[in-house]
Symmetry: C2
Subunit: 256 residues, 2 copies
Amino acid sequence: MAKVIAIVSQKGGVGKTTTAANLSAALAQEGQRVLLLEADPQGGLGRSLTPTEGESKGLADVLRNWARTEEAITPTLVDGLQLLPAGKVDTQLEDRLHEMAREDPFVLRELLEELRDRYDMVIIDSPATLGHLTRACLAAADSYLVPIQAEELSYRTLPRMLEVVEEIRETSNPQLECEGFLLTMVDLRTRVARKVVNQLYENYGDRIMVSMIPRTVRIQEMTDRKRPLVVYSPSSKGALAYLEVAREVMLHGPGD
Amino acid sequence: MAKVIAIVSQKGGVGKTTTAANLSAALAQEGQRVLLLEADPQGGLGRSLTPTEGESKGLADVLRNWARTEEAITPTLVDGLQLLPAGKVDTQLEDRLHEMAREDPFVLRELLEELRDRYDMVIIDSPATLGHLTRACLAAADSYLVPIQAEELSYRTLPRMLEVVEEIRETSNPQLECEGFLLTMVDLRTRVARKVVNQLYENYGDRIMVSMIPRTVRIQEMTDRKRPLVVYSPSSKGALAYLEVAREVMLHGPGD
Ligand SMILES: Nc1ncnc2c1ncn2[C@@H]1O[C@H](COP(=O)(O)OP(=O)(O)OP(=O)(O)O)[C@@H](O)[C@H]1O
Ligand SMILES: Nc1ncnc2c1ncn2[C@@H]1O[C@H](COP(=O)(O)OP(=O)(O)OP(=O)(O)O)[C@@H](O)[C@H]1O
Ligand SMILES: [Mg+2]
Ligand SMILES: [Mg+2]
Protein backbone atom coordinates (compact mmCIF):
# COMPACT_ATOMS: atom_id res chain seq x y z
CA MET A 1 0.00 0.00 0.00
CA ALA A 2 1.60 3.24 -1.16
CA LYS A 3 1.87 6.17 1.21
CA VAL A 4 0.35 9.30 -0.36
CA ILE A 5 1.86 12.71 0.49
CA ALA A 6 0.30 15.97 -0.77
CA ILE A 7 2.65 18.96 -1.17
CA VAL A 8 0.46 21.95 -0.34
CA SER A 9 0.61 25.70 0.19
CA GLN A 10 -1.73 28.44 -0.95
CA LYS A 11 1.26 30.79 -1.10
CA GLY A 12 2.73 31.01 -4.56
CA GLY A 13 6.34 30.30 -5.37
CA VAL A 14 7.39 28.65 -2.09
CA GLY A 15 8.81 25.53 -3.77
CA LYS A 16 5.88 23.07 -4.03
CA THR A 17 6.76 21.87 -7.52
CA THR A 18 10.50 21.83 -6.83
CA THR A 19 9.93 19.86 -3.62
CA ALA A 20 7.54 17.41 -5.31
CA ALA A 21 10.09 16.69 -8.07
CA ASN A 22 13.19 16.44 -5.87
CA LEU A 23 11.56 14.54 -3.03
CA SER A 24 10.07 11.95 -5.38
CA ALA A 25 13.38 11.51 -7.22
CA ALA A 26 15.27 11.18 -3.92
CA LEU A 27 12.76 8.55 -2.71
CA ALA A 28 13.25 6.66 -6.00
CA GLN A 29 17.04 6.78 -5.48
CA GLU A 30 16.43 5.22 -2.06
CA GLY A 31 14.76 2.29 -3.78
CA GLN A 32 11.11 3.33 -3.46
CA ARG A 33 8.70 2.84 -6.40
CA VAL A 34 7.32 6.36 -6.73
CA LEU A 35 4.44 7.98 -8.64
CA LEU A 36 4.50 11.76 -8.96
CA LEU A 37 0.99 13.16 -9.57
CA GLU A 38 0.74 16.67 -11.04
CA ALA A 39 -2.60 17.97 -9.71
CA ASP A 40 -1.66 21.60 -10.48
CA PRO A 41 -2.92 22.38 -14.02
CA GLN A 42 -0.30 25.19 -14.22
CA GLY A 43 2.37 23.08 -12.53
CA GLY A 44 5.18 22.73 -15.02
CA LEU A 45 6.19 19.19 -13.98
CA GLY A 46 5.07 17.63 -17.26
CA ARG A 47 7.10 20.22 -19.16
CA SER A 48 10.10 19.80 -16.88
CA LEU A 49 10.39 16.03 -16.58
CA THR A 50 9.23 14.64 -19.93
CA PRO A 51 10.29 15.31 -23.51
CA THR A 52 6.73 15.63 -24.85
CA GLU A 53 6.17 19.22 -23.63
CA GLY A 54 2.69 18.50 -22.27
CA GLU A 55 1.21 17.03 -25.47
CA SER A 56 0.58 13.58 -24.04
CA LYS A 57 -2.48 12.46 -22.10
CA GLY A 58 -2.70 13.52 -18.49
CA LEU A 59 -4.83 13.73 -15.37
CA ALA A 60 -7.34 15.96 -17.13
CA ASP A 61 -7.95 13.26 -19.75
CA VAL A 62 -8.20 10.49 -17.16
CA LEU A 63 -10.77 12.39 -15.11
CA ARG A 64 -12.88 13.02 -18.23
CA ASN A 65 -12.63 9.32 -19.14
CA TRP A 66 -10.75 10.17 -22.34
CA ALA A 67 -7.82 8.02 -21.31
CA ARG A 68 -7.16 5.13 -18.97
CA THR A 69 -4.80 5.85 -16.09
CA GLU A 70 -2.09 3.55 -17.52
CA GLU A 71 -2.03 5.55 -20.78
CA ALA A 72 -1.40 8.81 -18.94
CA ILE A 73 1.39 7.54 -16.68
CA THR A 74 4.80 8.08 -18.26
CA PRO A 75 8.30 7.11 -17.21
CA THR A 76 10.86 9.83 -16.41
CA LEU A 77 14.64 9.96 -16.75
CA VAL A 78 14.81 8.89 -13.09
CA ASP A 79 14.82 5.14 -12.39
CA GLY A 80 11.88 4.16 -10.22
CA LEU A 81 9.99 7.43 -10.77
CA GLN A 82 6.86 7.62 -12.92
CA LEU A 83 4.81 10.75 -13.62
CA LEU A 84 1.09 11.30 -14.11
CA PRO A 85 1.18 14.83 -15.60
CA ALA A 86 -1.72 17.31 -15.53
CA GLY A 87 -1.88 17.09 -19.34
CA LYS A 88 -2.75 19.89 -21.75
CA VAL A 89 -5.14 22.18 -19.91
CA ASP A 90 -6.86 25.32 -21.22
CA THR A 91 -9.07 27.63 -19.17
CA GLN A 92 -12.31 25.77 -19.85
CA LEU A 93 -10.70 22.50 -18.85
CA GLU A 94 -9.18 24.04 -15.75
CA ASP A 95 -12.68 25.18 -14.75
CA ARG A 96 -13.96 21.70 -15.45
CA LEU A 97 -11.30 20.17 -13.15
CA HIS A 98 -12.25 22.53 -10.32
CA GLU A 99 -15.93 21.71 -10.96
CA MET A 100 -15.26 17.95 -10.81
CA ALA A 101 -13.37 18.32 -7.55
CA ARG A 102 -16.25 20.35 -6.12
CA GLU A 103 -18.86 17.77 -7.16
CA ASP A 104 -16.78 14.84 -5.92
CA PRO A 105 -14.13 15.63 -3.29
CA PHE A 106 -12.94 12.00 -3.52
CA VAL A 107 -12.17 12.11 -7.24
CA LEU A 108 -8.39 11.86 -6.71
CA ARG A 109 -8.70 9.41 -3.85
CA GLU A 110 -10.65 7.02 -6.07
CA LEU A 111 -8.11 7.41 -8.88
CA LEU A 112 -5.25 6.52 -6.54
CA GLU A 113 -7.11 3.53 -5.01
CA GLU A 114 -6.40 1.47 -8.11
CA LEU A 115 -2.72 2.47 -8.14
CA ARG A 116 -1.70 2.18 -4.51
CA ASP A 117 -0.50 -1.39 -4.75
CA ARG A 118 1.89 -0.64 -7.62
CA TYR A 119 3.90 2.00 -5.75
CA ASP A 120 5.51 2.56 -2.36
CA MET A 121 5.01 6.33 -2.45
CA VAL A 122 2.73 8.77 -4.28
CA ILE A 123 3.72 12.46 -4.18
CA ILE A 124 1.10 15.02 -5.25
CA ASP A 125 2.00 18.55 -6.44
CA SER A 126 -0.99 20.81 -5.82
CA PRO A 127 -1.94 24.32 -7.02
CA ALA A 128 -1.29 27.53 -5.02
CA THR A 129 -4.85 27.83 -3.69
CA LEU A 130 -7.06 26.28 -1.01
CA GLY A 131 -9.79 25.57 -3.54
CA HIS A 132 -11.52 22.31 -4.48
CA LEU A 133 -8.59 20.79 -6.33
CA THR A 134 -6.24 21.24 -3.37
CA ARG A 135 -8.92 19.91 -1.04
CA ALA A 136 -9.27 16.85 -3.27
CA CYS A 137 -5.49 16.35 -2.91
CA LEU A 138 -5.79 16.53 0.87
CA ALA A 139 -8.75 14.13 0.82
CA ALA A 140 -6.61 11.63 -1.11
CA ALA A 141 -3.50 11.92 1.06
CA ASP A 142 -2.19 10.09 4.12
CA SER A 143 -0.17 13.18 5.03
CA TYR A 144 0.51 16.73 3.89
CA LEU A 145 3.86 18.49 3.57
CA VAL A 146 3.97 22.32 3.53
CA PRO A 147 6.99 24.02 1.94
CA ILE A 148 7.52 27.38 3.61
CA GLN A 149 9.90 30.24 2.94
CA ALA A 150 11.46 32.04 5.93
CA GLU A 151 9.56 35.22 5.20
CA GLU A 152 6.48 36.96 6.51
CA LEU A 153 3.97 36.57 3.64
CA SER A 154 4.52 32.81 3.53
CA TYR A 155 4.48 32.38 7.32
CA ARG A 156 1.15 34.19 7.68
CA THR A 157 -0.61 31.74 5.39
CA LEU A 158 -0.17 28.86 7.87
CA PRO A 159 -3.20 29.43 10.14
CA ARG A 160 -5.55 29.41 7.17
CA MET A 161 -3.95 26.25 5.78
CA LEU A 162 -4.34 24.46 9.11
CA GLU A 163 -8.02 25.49 9.26
CA VAL A 164 -8.63 23.89 5.89
CA VAL A 165 -6.78 20.74 6.96
CA GLU A 166 -9.09 20.52 9.98
CA GLU A 167 -12.13 20.89 7.72
CA ILE A 168 -10.86 18.07 5.49
CA ARG A 169 -10.17 15.89 8.52
CA GLU A 170 -13.76 16.43 9.71
CA THR A 171 -15.48 16.07 6.34
CA SER A 172 -13.54 13.62 4.24
CA ASN A 173 -10.25 12.30 5.60
CA PRO A 174 -9.95 11.74 9.39
CA GLN A 175 -6.60 9.95 8.96
CA LEU A 176 -4.86 12.97 7.38
CA GLU A 177 -1.62 13.67 9.27
CA CYS A 178 1.02 16.36 9.08
CA GLU A 179 4.18 15.15 7.36
CA GLY A 180 5.81 18.44 8.31
CA PHE A 181 6.66 22.02 7.40
CA LEU A 182 9.73 22.14 5.18
CA LEU A 183 11.81 25.31 5.17
CA THR A 184 12.87 26.07 1.58
CA MET A 185 15.16 28.66 -0.08
CA VAL A 186 16.69 29.23 3.33
CA ASP A 187 19.24 32.01 3.73
CA LEU A 188 19.75 32.76 7.41
CA ARG A 189 22.10 35.67 6.81
CA THR A 190 19.15 38.07 6.94
CA ARG A 191 17.38 39.47 9.98
CA VAL A 192 13.93 38.86 8.47
CA ALA A 193 14.63 35.18 7.84
CA ARG A 194 15.95 34.62 11.37
CA LYS A 195 12.91 36.39 12.84
CA VAL A 196 10.47 34.23 10.90
CA VAL A 197 12.37 31.05 11.73
CA ASN A 198 12.10 31.99 15.43
CA GLN A 199 8.37 32.53 15.07
CA LEU A 200 8.02 29.22 13.26
CA TYR A 201 9.81 27.21 15.95
CA GLU A 202 7.95 29.00 18.76
CA ASN A 203 4.50 28.39 17.26
CA TYR A 204 4.89 25.19 15.27
CA GLY A 205 8.05 23.62 16.71
CA ASP A 206 6.85 20.04 16.59
CA ARG A 207 5.83 20.20 12.93
CA ILE A 208 9.00 21.62 11.40
CA MET A 209 11.04 19.07 9.52
CA VAL A 210 14.61 18.57 10.64
CA SER A 211 15.94 19.07 7.11
CA MET A 212 16.01 22.54 5.55
CA ILE A 213 16.56 23.33 1.88
CA PRO A 214 19.13 26.08 1.26
CA ARG A 215 18.63 28.69 -1.46
CA THR A 216 20.56 27.33 -4.41
CA VAL A 217 20.17 28.55 -7.95
CA ARG A 218 21.39 25.27 -9.44
CA ILE A 219 17.97 23.85 -8.52
CA GLN A 220 16.37 25.99 -11.25
CA GLU A 221 18.05 24.02 -14.03
CA MET A 222 15.50 21.20 -13.70
CA THR A 223 13.44 22.29 -16.71
CA ASP A 224 16.50 22.54 -18.97
CA ARG A 225 17.96 19.25 -17.83
CA LYS A 226 14.65 17.36 -17.78
CA ARG A 227 15.46 15.90 -14.37
CA PRO A 228 15.56 17.25 -10.81
CA LEU A 229 18.68 18.53 -9.00
CA VAL A 230 19.08 15.32 -6.98
CA VAL A 231 19.76 13.52 -10.26
CA TYR A 232 21.94 15.94 -12.19
CA SER A 233 23.94 17.15 -9.22
CA PRO A 234 23.61 14.50 -6.49
CA SER A 235 26.37 15.79 -4.20
CA SER A 236 25.29 19.46 -4.25
CA LYS A 237 24.01 20.92 -0.99
CA GLY A 238 20.45 21.21 -2.34
CA ALA A 239 20.41 17.58 -3.45
CA LEU A 240 21.81 16.33 -0.12
CA ALA A 241 19.14 18.34 1.69
CA TYR A 242 16.36 16.71 -0.35
CA LEU A 243 17.92 13.31 0.26
CA GLU A 244 17.65 14.05 3.99
CA VAL A 245 13.99 14.96 3.53
CA ALA A 246 13.40 11.65 1.75
CA ARG A 247 15.03 9.75 4.61
CA GLU A 248 13.00 11.70 7.17
CA VAL A 249 9.79 10.85 5.27
CA MET A 250 10.73 7.17 5.12
CA LEU A 251 11.42 7.16 8.87
CA HIS A 252 7.92 8.55 9.57
CA GLY A 253 6.67 5.28 8.21
CA PRO A 254 4.21 4.07 5.62
CA GLY A 255 0.56 4.90 5.12
CA ASP A 256 -1.97 2.88 7.12
CA MET B 1 -9.99 59.48 -15.36
CA ALA B 2 -7.74 57.05 -13.49
CA LYS B 3 -5.54 54.67 -15.41
CA VAL B 4 -6.10 51.08 -14.24
CA ILE B 5 -3.17 48.61 -14.28
CA ALA B 6 -3.63 44.92 -13.39
CA ILE B 7 -0.57 43.10 -12.00
CA VAL B 8 -0.98 39.55 -13.31
CA SER B 9 0.82 36.22 -13.47
CA GLN B 10 -0.46 32.70 -12.97
CA LYS B 11 2.98 31.72 -11.64
CA GLY B 12 3.15 31.86 -7.90
CA GLY B 13 5.69 33.89 -5.97
CA VAL B 14 7.02 36.07 -8.82
CA GLY B 15 6.42 39.36 -6.98
CA LYS B 16 2.86 40.42 -7.93
CA THR B 17 1.95 41.62 -4.43
CA THR B 18 5.36 43.19 -3.81
CA THR B 19 5.16 45.01 -7.16
CA ALA B 20 1.58 46.16 -6.57
CA ALA B 21 2.54 47.63 -3.17
CA ASN B 22 5.83 49.26 -4.20
CA LEU B 23 4.64 50.55 -7.56
CA SER B 24 1.55 52.17 -6.04
CA ALA B 25 3.57 53.76 -3.23
CA ALA B 26 6.15 55.06 -5.71
CA LEU B 27 3.38 56.53 -7.88
CA ALA B 28 1.92 58.22 -4.77
CA GLN B 29 5.37 59.66 -3.97
CA GLU B 30 5.39 61.09 -7.51
CA GLY B 31 2.20 62.99 -6.65
CA GLN B 32 -0.37 60.60 -8.12
CA ARG B 33 -3.61 59.87 -6.22
CA VAL B 34 -3.50 56.07 -6.11
CA LEU B 35 -5.95 53.31 -5.19
CA LEU B 36 -4.50 49.85 -4.59
CA LEU B 37 -7.13 47.13 -5.11
CA GLU B 38 -6.45 43.70 -3.54
CA ALA B 39 -8.33 41.30 -5.82
CA ASP B 40 -6.34 38.30 -4.53
CA PRO B 41 -8.30 36.80 -1.59
CA GLN B 42 -5.00 35.30 -0.28
CA GLY B 43 -3.00 38.41 -1.14
CA GLY B 44 -1.60 39.66 2.13
CA LEU B 45 -1.79 43.38 1.23
CA GLY B 46 -4.48 44.11 3.80
CA ARG B 47 -2.36 42.42 6.47
CA SER B 48 0.82 44.16 5.31
CA LEU B 49 -0.34 47.75 4.85
CA THR B 50 -3.02 48.32 7.50
CA PRO B 51 -3.05 47.87 11.27
CA THR B 52 -6.41 46.07 11.37
CA GLU B 53 -5.09 42.62 10.33
CA GLY B 54 -7.88 42.00 7.82
CA GLU B 55 -10.81 42.55 10.20
CA SER B 56 -12.21 45.54 8.37
CA LYS B 57 -14.61 45.48 5.42
CA GLY B 58 -13.15 44.66 2.05
CA LEU B 59 -13.83 43.87 -1.59
CA ALA B 60 -15.67 40.70 -0.63
CA ASP B 61 -18.16 42.73 1.43
CA VAL B 62 -18.61 45.36 -1.28
CA LEU B 63 -19.34 42.73 -3.94
CA ARG B 64 -21.93 41.09 -1.68
CA ASN B 65 -23.52 44.49 -1.01
CA TRP B 66 -22.67 44.25 2.70
CA ALA B 67 -20.67 47.45 2.56
CA ARG B 68 -20.45 50.55 0.38
CA THR B 69 -17.18 51.03 -1.47
CA GLU B 70 -16.28 54.09 0.62
CA GLU B 71 -16.53 52.05 3.84
CA ALA B 72 -14.07 49.47 2.57
CA ILE B 73 -11.45 51.91 1.28
CA THR B 74 -8.86 52.63 3.96
CA PRO B 75 -5.89 55.02 4.10
CA THR B 76 -2.37 53.59 4.41
CA LEU B 77 0.80 54.96 6.02
CA VAL B 78 1.74 56.29 2.57
CA ASP B 79 0.49 59.78 1.65
CA GLY B 80 -1.68 59.66 -1.45
CA LEU B 81 -2.16 55.87 -1.35
CA GLN B 82 -5.47 54.28 -0.36
CA LEU B 83 -6.22 50.56 -0.19
CA LEU B 84 -9.33 48.54 -0.95
CA PRO B 85 -8.35 45.23 0.73
CA ALA B 86 -9.81 41.83 -0.14
CA GLY B 87 -11.32 41.69 3.38
CA LYS B 88 -11.76 38.62 5.56
CA VAL B 89 -12.26 35.70 3.20
CA ASP B 90 -12.92 32.03 4.09
CA THR B 91 -13.19 29.19 1.57
CA GLN B 92 -16.93 29.59 0.98
CA LEU B 93 -16.49 33.27 0.34
CA GLU B 94 -13.55 32.67 -1.93
CA ASP B 95 -15.73 30.32 -3.98
CA ARG B 96 -18.46 32.95 -4.01
CA LEU B 97 -16.02 35.56 -5.39
CA HIS B 98 -14.93 33.22 -8.18
CA GLU B 99 -18.61 32.48 -8.88
CA MET B 100 -19.48 36.19 -9.07
CA ALA B 101 -16.64 36.82 -11.46
CA ARG B 102 -17.79 33.94 -13.62
CA GLU B 103 -21.40 35.16 -13.72
CA ASP B 104 -20.37 38.77 -14.40
CA PRO B 105 -16.91 39.30 -15.93
CA PHE B 106 -17.42 43.07 -15.57
CA VAL B 107 -17.98 43.00 -11.81
CA LEU B 108 -14.68 44.78 -11.05
CA ARG B 109 -14.95 47.11 -14.01
CA GLU B 110 -18.33 48.35 -12.75
CA LEU B 111 -16.96 48.80 -9.23
CA LEU B 112 -14.09 50.92 -10.53
CA GLU B 113 -16.34 53.03 -12.80
CA GLU B 114 -17.62 54.97 -9.81
CA LEU B 115 -14.08 55.52 -8.46
CA ARG B 116 -12.10 56.48 -11.55
CA ASP B 117 -12.58 60.20 -11.18
CA ARG B 118 -11.22 60.24 -7.63
CA TYR B 119 -7.82 58.76 -8.50
CA ASP B 120 -5.07 59.15 -11.09
CA MET B 121 -4.03 55.50 -10.91
CA VAL B 122 -5.62 52.23 -9.80
CA ILE B 123 -3.27 49.24 -9.28
CA ILE B 124 -4.84 45.78 -8.98
CA ASP B 125 -3.07 42.84 -7.31
CA SER B 126 -4.51 39.61 -8.73
CA PRO B 127 -4.33 35.95 -7.67
CA ALA B 128 -1.83 33.42 -9.07
CA THR B 129 -4.29 31.81 -11.51
CA LEU B 130 -5.87 32.54 -14.87
CA GLY B 131 -9.34 31.92 -13.49
CA HIS B 132 -12.43 34.15 -13.44
CA LEU B 133 -11.17 36.58 -10.82
CA THR B 134 -7.97 37.31 -12.76
CA ARG B 135 -9.99 37.62 -15.97
CA ALA B 136 -12.27 40.12 -14.21
CA CYS B 137 -9.13 42.11 -13.31
CA LEU B 138 -8.05 42.11 -16.95
CA ALA B 139 -11.55 43.11 -18.06
CA ALA B 140 -11.36 46.12 -15.70
CA ALA B 141 -7.87 47.24 -16.68
CA ASP B 142 -6.44 49.67 -19.24
CA SER B 143 -3.19 47.70 -19.18
CA TYR B 144 -1.58 44.64 -17.62
CA LEU B 145 1.89 44.35 -16.08
CA VAL B 146 3.48 40.89 -15.74
CA PRO B 147 6.20 40.44 -13.09
CA ILE B 148 8.55 37.71 -14.23
CA GLN B 149 11.49 35.99 -12.58
CA ALA B 150 14.54 35.20 -14.72
CA GLU B 151 13.97 31.47 -14.46
CA GLU B 152 12.47 28.75 -16.59
CA LEU B 153 9.18 27.88 -14.77
CA SER B 154 8.14 31.53 -14.75
CA TYR B 155 9.20 32.18 -18.36
CA ARG B 156 7.21 29.22 -19.68
CA THR B 157 3.97 30.59 -18.31
CA LEU B 158 4.03 33.57 -20.70
CA PRO B 159 2.43 32.02 -23.83
CA ARG B 160 -0.58 30.88 -21.84
CA MET B 161 -0.94 34.32 -20.22
CA LEU B 162 -0.85 36.02 -23.60
CA GLU B 163 -3.53 33.63 -24.90
CA VAL B 164 -5.84 34.61 -22.07
CA VAL B 165 -5.15 38.30 -22.68
CA GLU B 166 -6.19 37.80 -26.32
CA GLU B 167 -9.39 36.09 -25.19
CA ILE B 168 -10.18 39.00 -22.89
CA ARG B 169 -9.44 41.48 -25.65
CA GLU B 170 -11.87 39.66 -27.92
CA THR B 171 -14.63 39.04 -25.38
CA SER B 172 -14.67 41.93 -22.93
CA ASN B 173 -11.93 44.55 -23.19
CA PRO B 174 -10.61 45.43 -26.68
CA GLN B 175 -8.61 48.38 -25.29
CA LEU B 176 -6.47 46.19 -22.98
CA GLU B 177 -2.80 46.99 -23.62
CA CYS B 178 0.47 45.57 -22.36
CA GLU B 179 2.10 47.81 -19.76
CA GLY B 180 5.12 45.51 -19.83
CA PHE B 181 6.96 42.52 -18.45
CA LEU B 182 8.88 43.49 -15.33
CA LEU B 183 11.91 41.41 -14.38
CA THR B 184 11.90 40.88 -10.62
CA MET B 185 14.33 39.31 -8.10
CA VAL B 186 17.01 39.65 -10.71
CA ASP B 187 20.43 38.17 -10.03
CA LEU B 188 22.40 37.95 -13.27
CA ARG B 189 25.35 36.20 -11.68
CA THR B 190 23.83 32.83 -12.63
CA ARG B 191 23.93 31.06 -15.98
CA VAL B 192 20.22 30.12 -15.76
CA ALA B 193 19.15 33.73 -15.22
CA ARG B 194 21.23 35.03 -18.13
CA LYS B 195 19.85 32.32 -20.40
CA VAL B 196 16.24 33.16 -19.56
CA VAL B 197 16.89 36.88 -19.95
CA ASN B 198 18.29 36.18 -23.43
CA GLN B 199 15.20 34.17 -24.32
CA LEU B 200 12.96 36.93 -22.97
CA TYR B 201 14.60 39.65 -25.04
CA GLU B 202 14.67 37.48 -28.16
CA ASN B 203 10.98 36.57 -27.97
CA TYR B 204 9.37 39.51 -26.20
CA GLY B 205 11.92 42.30 -26.58
CA ASP B 206 9.43 45.10 -27.17
CA ARG B 207 7.37 44.27 -24.06
CA ILE B 208 10.14 44.14 -21.46
CA MET B 209 10.22 47.14 -19.19
CA VAL B 210 13.46 49.09 -19.06
CA SER B 211 13.61 48.90 -15.25
CA MET B 212 14.52 45.64 -13.51
CA ILE B 213 14.05 44.88 -9.84
CA PRO B 214 17.14 43.35 -8.18
CA ARG B 215 16.83 40.58 -5.61
CA THR B 216 16.95 42.36 -2.29
CA VAL B 217 15.89 40.82 0.99
CA ARG B 218 15.12 44.20 2.58
CA ILE B 219 11.95 44.22 0.44
CA GLN B 220 10.53 41.42 2.60
CA GLU B 221 10.23 43.68 5.64
CA MET B 222 7.05 45.26 4.27
CA THR B 223 4.69 43.24 6.47
CA ASP B 224 6.65 44.04 9.64
CA ARG B 225 6.97 47.73 8.83
CA LYS B 226 3.39 48.14 7.53
CA ARG B 227 4.68 50.03 4.49
CA PRO B 228 6.51 49.11 1.29
CA LEU B 229 10.26 49.31 0.74
CA VAL B 230 10.03 52.59 -1.25
CA VAL B 231 8.77 54.25 1.92
CA TYR B 232 10.93 52.76 4.66
CA SER B 233 14.13 52.67 2.63
CA PRO B 234 13.71 55.15 -0.23
CA SER B 235 17.37 55.24 -1.35
CA SER B 236 17.87 51.46 -1.41
CA LYS B 237 18.51 49.84 -4.79
CA GLY B 238 15.11 48.06 -4.71
CA ALA B 239 13.26 51.29 -3.95
CA LEU B 240 15.06 53.22 -6.69
CA ALA B 241 14.20 50.44 -9.14
CA TYR B 242 10.50 50.68 -8.30
CA LEU B 243 10.68 54.48 -8.59
CA GLU B 244 12.02 53.94 -12.12
CA VAL B 245 9.09 51.61 -12.85
CA ALA B 246 6.66 54.28 -11.63
CA ARG B 247 8.27 56.87 -13.91
CA GLU B 248 8.17 54.47 -16.84
CA VAL B 249 4.46 53.82 -16.21
CA MET B 250 3.74 57.56 -16.02
CA LEU B 251 5.58 58.10 -19.30
CA HIS B 252 3.39 55.50 -21.02
CA GLY B 253 0.57 57.89 -20.40
CA PRO B 254 -2.87 57.84 -18.85
CA GLY B 255 -5.80 55.59 -19.57
CA ASP B 256 -8.13 56.83 -22.30
N1 LIG C 1 15.98 25.89 -2.79
C1 LIG C 1 15.80 26.74 -3.81
N2 LIG C 1 16.76 27.63 -4.10
C2 LIG C 1 16.60 28.51 -5.14
N3 LIG C 1 15.52 28.56 -5.94
C3 LIG C 1 14.53 27.70 -5.68
C4 LIG C 1 14.59 26.74 -4.62
N4 LIG C 1 13.44 26.01 -4.62
C5 LIG C 1 12.69 26.50 -5.64
N5 LIG C 1 13.34 27.49 -6.28
C6 LIG C 1 12.87 28.29 -7.41
O1 LIG C 1 11.84 29.15 -6.94
C7 LIG C 1 10.79 29.25 -7.93
C8 LIG C 1 9.49 28.78 -7.28
O2 LIG C 1 9.53 27.41 -7.01
P1 LIG C 1 8.33 26.44 -7.42
O3 LIG C 1 7.86 26.75 -8.79
O4 LIG C 1 8.76 25.06 -7.12
O5 LIG C 1 7.24 26.93 -6.36
P2 LIG C 1 5.70 26.56 -6.31
O6 LIG C 1 5.28 26.71 -4.90
O7 LIG C 1 5.48 25.26 -6.96
O8 LIG C 1 5.07 27.73 -7.22
P3 LIG C 1 3.52 27.83 -7.72
O9 LIG C 1 2.82 28.55 -6.61
O10 LIG C 1 3.59 28.63 -8.99
O11 LIG C 1 3.05 26.45 -7.94
C9 LIG C 1 11.22 28.36 -9.08
O12 LIG C 1 11.83 29.13 -10.03
C10 LIG C 1 12.25 27.42 -8.48
O13 LIG C 1 13.20 27.03 -9.42
N1 LIG D 1 13.01 41.96 -5.48
C1 LIG D 1 12.85 41.06 -4.51
N2 LIG D 1 13.92 40.60 -3.84
C2 LIG D 1 13.78 39.67 -2.86
N3 LIG D 1 12.62 39.12 -2.49
C3 LIG D 1 11.50 39.53 -3.13
C4 LIG D 1 11.55 40.51 -4.16
N4 LIG D 1 10.28 40.71 -4.60
C5 LIG D 1 9.49 39.89 -3.88
N5 LIG D 1 10.22 39.21 -2.97
C6 LIG D 1 9.75 38.20 -2.01
O1 LIG D 1 9.37 37.05 -2.74
C7 LIG D 1 8.20 36.46 -2.16
C8 LIG D 1 7.12 36.41 -3.24
O2 LIG D 1 6.70 37.71 -3.57
P1 LIG D 1 5.15 38.07 -3.67
O3 LIG D 1 4.41 37.50 -2.51
O4 LIG D 1 5.07 39.53 -3.91
O5 LIG D 1 4.79 37.28 -5.01
P2 LIG D 1 3.34 37.00 -5.59
O6 LIG D 1 3.53 36.79 -7.04
O7 LIG D 1 2.41 38.04 -5.15
O8 LIG D 1 2.95 35.61 -4.88
P3 LIG D 1 1.51 34.87 -4.92
O9 LIG D 1 1.59 34.02 -6.14
O10 LIG D 1 1.46 34.06 -3.64
O11 LIG D 1 0.47 35.93 -4.97
C9 LIG D 1 7.82 37.36 -0.99
O12 LIG D 1 8.33 36.80 0.15
C10 LIG D 1 8.52 38.67 -1.27
O13 LIG D 1 8.84 39.34 -0.10
MG1 LIG E 1 4.10 24.71 -8.46
MG1 LIG F 1 0.51 37.85 -4.27
